[in-house]
Symmetry: C2
Subunit: 377 residues, 2 copies
């Protein structure tokens, strides 16, 4: 069976436990997010910015791979080591990766702009070292979002360090105006100017450390409902940029939405167009083009297993569909990447398959060396 | 140009102003929803169940058709008269319609179960008369949802009257458990038993009369964002039924989602499958089949203008895609139905076009006489 090589539009780094203690003054390091796990693994204490919370271990830590029964930590032991990781990637047939931080899940509990700014710098200084190990790593820079001017400054610094993408949560910190507000224009401007891809990862709605992220539903089917709910944040973020005219002001801005599937693209484009045309008398601002045109040109998205996603490109003509591994997470394809890629693409024409597995990624990140040709083993 | 005849999976009746005064005891009629409009048309007073609210006229009333500049009331003058309405439908090329009530937008403000029960009966007694005018009308029965046993009773009564579908809001009244809770099993059971189609209309989240329905966002792009947001409620409702095992218990239950587009079907099916497989250790209940199989077999959806929707059937193989006119609403196709149908279907194969324009509707409502053949005028 031919090995299919694919770039991944959605992967994750796991920051080392000593990241902050080795890179920040002790008083700041002590206030950055950290988890103390109970010996039996069932509860943890979260310390962040002077607050402490006892909570059951989040579901992600308990989740096991349905095929192997292994947890996230066990199933991909190379994930934390940039050299070992390349062996995992080679084995799976993953060439380059857009990687997101893991610690980001807690940063919405930080309310001190100075602490947030210094913490993000520390994460970025670590992540760029990871990126330097191999041109196959495209790490996202973490951005302090409590002050617009500091977000701009860190994006400029990140671009100087060599970052090609910036991680954004699907909604800003709760004390800030939303993504369609004009205050964010300087951020969009500097992203366009530096060429950094605005990279949303789904499931990153800001929340307090005392609440379980993503717990919207309980009762029968709750886990499945919560999983589905995470996807909408990415669609909302994209809608906010389009509806508020961001792409008229910053036409070169590129946006990536990772892990939320891809078939939503044509769907959302059509919904936006219908609202724009049929509610024209209510629409402010008017846009230079139809909403769908921005989505089809400026927005990209990655999926893992979605059977319908290739047809979002082949039949619905959205060229910006990417595949993603979600390595090393349990929602991802680690351990069955080749099986998944063949199921997805064996019936897809070569041009479309190449666009989804490598081409769209290369368009976003042209500095990355080309993936090996998919070939018979 | 050939006239395309299509059934509509999404249309609306507008109840006459004297509906409650002519059909309910005076003390109940006085408490049912009623709007007093100011002379200048900018404000109205809503009276419902002993409460009164002053508010700006809702957007729907101010919306004008982008092509004609006419309001909803002006653009389709036949809508309120079941005989004149048929002339509108003939002109547009719409054959049969699944119709929803309009007064339903206020019923979530009724907190007295007796008032709600009697009010729903009055609406249904009126709607069934409308339906009797022509077999082209498939009216949805309104269901009192404050007591499960009364919902069951009204569904049984409605089935006896000749209703073939029941209107459900995308979320139950706020004081009731959500659609995935077990308390609703008797309702799903009686819907399956009577064969009534469980028909969700998007944008029907319960809300208090003092709040503007569907106002989630303000600021730049707000109207467009609010329009998009309405679609997610239908997806959530379907997800709740699937995830909680409703279709394992009631495998013959058919569900319709009107006005929210259709490309979300394959998208949601894939998201549910990924969550179900990759989070298997957390999923309760386990299901007999993959989530996507229920969605592809038991769930139907209608769209108006969405360019990508036909490919949800032709390329993504969801057979349950319906077109809908949304007559007489401004989001709908009145005045440009033939133009829209041709844009949507001129490049679609005949079998798929027939399935979307008439076949899926006929599968849900086999009692409806067949639409005329689409033919050259």
């Amino acid at each position: 069976m031919a090995k299919i090589w694919a770039n991944s539009g959605d992967s994750h780094l796991v920051e080392p436990e000593d990241l902050f203690t080795t890179r920040l003054p002790a008083d700041l390091a002590a206030r950055m997010p950290r988890s103390e796990k109970d010996e039996d693994g069932s509860y943890e204490t979260i310390h962040v910015d002077g607050q402490s919370f006892r909570r059951r271990m989040p579901r992600a830590g308990q989740l096991t791979d349905p095929e192997t029964g292994l947890t996230v930590d066990e199933r991909a032991p190379g994930a934390n080591d940039p050299h070992l990781r390349l062996k995992d990637l080679d084995q799976e047939g993953i060439w380059a990766e857009l990687t997101y931080p893991s610690i980001g899940i807690w940063t919405s509990s930080i309310h001190d702009p100075v602490l947030l700014r210094e913490g993000m710098k520390a994460i970025n200084d670590w992540a760029i070292e990871y990126q330097h190990v191999s041109p196959r790593y495209v790490c996202t820079a973490s951005i302090p979002l409590l002050r617009v001017e500091e977000a701009v400054a860190e994006i400029e610094r990140a671009a100087g360090l060599g970052f090609k993408a910036a991680f954004f949560p699907v909604a800003p910190p709760t004390q800030m105006d939303d993504w369609h507000a004009e205050i964010w224009n300087p951020v969009y401007a500097v992203l366009e100017e530096t060429g950094l891809v605005l990279s949303y990862h789904i499931g990153t709605e800001p929340h307090d450390a005392s609440t379980m992220n993503g717990l919207y539903y309980r009762g029968p089917g709750g886990a499945l409902l919560n999983y589905v709910e995470t996807t909408y944040g990415g669609q909302r973020a994209v809608s906010k940029l389009i509806a508020s005219g961001v792409f008229d002001r910053y036409p070169e801005l590129k946006v990536m939405v990772s892990e939320g599937g891809a078939t939503w693209g044509p769907f959302l484009a059509d919904r936006l167009d219908e609202g724009y045309r049929q509610h024209a008398s209510q629409v402010r601002p008017m846009l230079n083009r139809l909403p769908s045109e921005y989505l089809y040109s400026n927005v990209y998205a990655s999926f893992q297993h979605d059977r319908s996603a290739p047809a979002a490109l082949t039949a619905m003509k959205w060229q910006n569909v990417l595949w993603g591994s979600d390595y090393p997470h349990v929602e991802g394809t680690f351990g069955h990447t080749q099986k998944t890629l063949h199921e997805l693409f064996d019936d897809v024409d070569e041009v479309s398959r190449r666009r989804i597995t490598v081409g769209a990624f290369e368009e976003l990140f042209p500095h990355v060396p080309p993936a090996p040709d998919s070939s018979d083993d």
